[in-house]
Symmetry: C2
Subunit: 419 residues, 2 copies
């Protein structure tokens, strides 16, 4: 390892200025950001990122999946590229750190390498992946790069067909174009990402850096409980086929399933849509948006079975029909050894404590990990708040994370790459 | 009683033609109608009603609350007016009979009286009341006529302010204008309405006609369960303040309350609105649309208390806050003796069986009953289906109801009116 590189630090003030500027795009009154994929605020943030790339003298690159990158050629023509990055989109009414921190840190790493004229064995690329949060489809950018995006993924996307079409049109993209973003397997050296933890384990354990061992598997379904519309004044409660009863029983039931049988997993109903939706009509149908996560393959499959069985049971209990629509699934994904070791070495060289942990959130790394060495680090989230305006990480922790990213990248990019 | 009048019958074929024509406005593929107040389909049905009035040589009248009437002067200048009527609006995806039957029957009664040149002691008016189903506010037309509509009723209407404003604009009405529809107490002799039962009691008891004794009281609230948005992958279930859990617990709870303690009452959650509404965010708030009904004052007040207490308990159990928004209330309303006796006499004269029952649905009669003698009859609903495309009444029962309406109206309009 090159000891001179280990001494390197990012420019904390410059990265702070970037971070603060970015937080203005889609800023909400309560201090968060609202930047769903290809919303006006998201498009403005993407434009700002492009301007920062060009201002830094880096090469701006874009692909058919809407990914935007800063590229720094610091190795030969045949060299592979080490990707560093995250995403600029947010969940509705999300926080300022999720995604944004990883993008500004990746950009800052490239600036530091460029201004220090460091020669490496791989080129560097700071990338903003499209639609990590799944406003439209989920992981459009990273699945596109990995060649894993399929036409069928676009047929019943999380956000609906109309949203997908409108979003792509706003960004000047097309559905066929999304599939052109796939990279050659031999062109990429690996992927590193800095992210906030979105949980409390680091702060509870008083550790500076979390090195991710696995990314949880995520499954999503839409479950439609179908009953019968009736007059809510003249139909006795016991004579109803009330879709709201079955759907509500299911929501209560998933909590029971997790607490009793899957204490290390999670499940969520983020939305229920009632039809026809009037005060005085017994609901004829309720569509439930279900998501669940597990870090290991066996738990994942068994949890999925239990949840769908419970939905059937609740539907039967209230005389309802159940329509099950599969939305998507990402298998649990282990992170690669090589980046994990590089992160640990960088922490040690910088005098930072570190902890190995699984990620309860999905990340772009899971799209890439089957093809390339992918690794992630986390910095502590105060109170574990995430996907919320309350999301917060101490700035000193953000700087620590960016310094670990820098030094791990330098280590990996200094190693000889088999190609 | 005038025996000649008792022999009168409405023209069943003519009324059938009206009924079928009206069912085309807002017709849904499954045989129902979708005519929310001041939708395009509802405006078209209103225009059609006006044309039938004019075609029948009756006087068309309209007021500031959007009520449309056929007027037949069959008494002196100082005579009162007996109102007959119902409403042309429907719930979303409702049935063809609810409201429509009462309007075409009232119009048919006036045509029969006119073509038989019957001299009476009161004038007759067949009225279509605005917004009975509450798409906008609920009972705009009848409360307007009774002078009971208040500016505060328009401030947080059931359908929201924007819907109200847009609807009034489409109908060429204004908010101040709504209050101009109030009639002098001395100008009205009473109100009679024919309606489908919307329940199964008549068909279960094999009776032709239901004579309404009371109209249930109806209360409506919006209950907002407020928790905390969190990342659905990284926040353990036991650490969440999940608004969906409290709201779902409440939905299950109201069923328990009704079945255990209020078997003669009903309650309904017709809608739940989740925020922010994403698969991967724990819902920060859920707004529950609650309605409940009871035929007697004591039950009504006690049920209201139990429901609101249960909402508080569920909110506390899941660490949520609760915001209670009162939407509206109609007290339980007894029907007047005089029309009830006239309906019973008409049934007897026509050889029709009849049953006294309370109405589980709200009707315009409840707006009018405190000022004037109001009465209603029901005809049997097959399977009790209501507020649904499955709503159906045998045509022979519709004709029976219209004949009872005709003969009861003749009897009441023949009596001397104190003025």
């Amino acid at each position: 390892m090159d000891n001179r590189n280990l001494a390197l630090r990012i420019n904390a003030e410059r990265m702070r200025a970037d971070f603060d500027a970015l937080a203005q795009f889609g800023a909400t009154p309560n201090g968060g950001v609202h930047r769903p994929t290809f919303s006006e605020a998201h498009l403005a943030a993407r434009q700002w990122f492009r301007e920062q790339i060009e201002k830094a003298g880096l090469e701006f690159r874009a692909d058919g999946a809407g990914n935007h990158s800063a590229f720094l050629k610091c190795a030969g023509n045949d060299a592979k590229t080490l990707l560093l990055g995250s995403h600029l989109d947010s969940v509705p009414d999300g926080g300022r750190f999720d995604g944004a921190l990883g993008v500004v840190a990746a950009l800052e790493v490239l600036r530091v390498v460029k201004e220090n004229n460091i020669a490496l064995r791989t080129n560097l690329e700071a990338i903003d992946f499209t639609d990590e949060e799944g406003t439209l489809v989920g992981f459009i950018g990273s699945a596109g790069v990995a060649g894993k995006l399929k036409p069928v993924d676009l047929q019943s996307p999380r956000g609906g067909r109309a949203n997908l079409q409108a979003g792509l049109a706003r960004a000047g993209l097309t559905e066929p174009g999304l599939f052109t973003a796939a990279r050659d397997r031999d062109s990429i050296a690996g992927y590193l990402e800095l992210h906030i933890e979105q949980g409390k384990r680091l702060s509870d354990a008083h550790q500076d850096i979390g090195i991710v061992t696995d990314i949880v598997g995520i499954g999503a379904y839409r479950l439609k409980f179908i009953g019968r519309a009736d007059h809510a004044g003249t139909t006795p409660v016991q004579a109803r086929r009330d879709a709201g009863q079955g759907a509500s029983g299911f929501v209560r039931g998933i909590r029971e399933i997790i607490l009793l049988d899957f204490p290390h997993c999670v499940a969520n109903v983020g939305k229920m849509e009632f039809s026809p939706g009037a005060f005085n009509i017994v609901p004829s149908s309720v569509v439930v948006s279900l998501e669940f996560r597990a870090a290991h393959e066996y738990d994942f499959a068994w949890l999925e079975t239990c949840l769908l069985e419970r939905a059937k049971t609740e539907a039967q209990h209230f005389g309802l029909e159940l329509e099950v629509e599969f939305i998507g699934k990402h298998a649990p994904t282990p992170m690669s050894e090589k980046p994990r070791r590089a992160f640990a070495a960088a922490c040690d060289a910088l005098g930072l404590s570190h902890l190995s942990l699984a990620s309860g959130a999905g990340h772009d790394a899971q799209s890439l990990a089957h093809l390339w060495d992918a690794g992630m680090i986390f910095v502590p989230s105060v109170d574990g708040a995430s996907h919320s305006a309350r999301e917060f990480t101490e700035w000193s922790d953000c700087v620590n994370g960016a310094n670990v990213l820098l030094n791990a990248a330098l280590q990996l990019a200094s190693q000889s790459q088999s190609s």
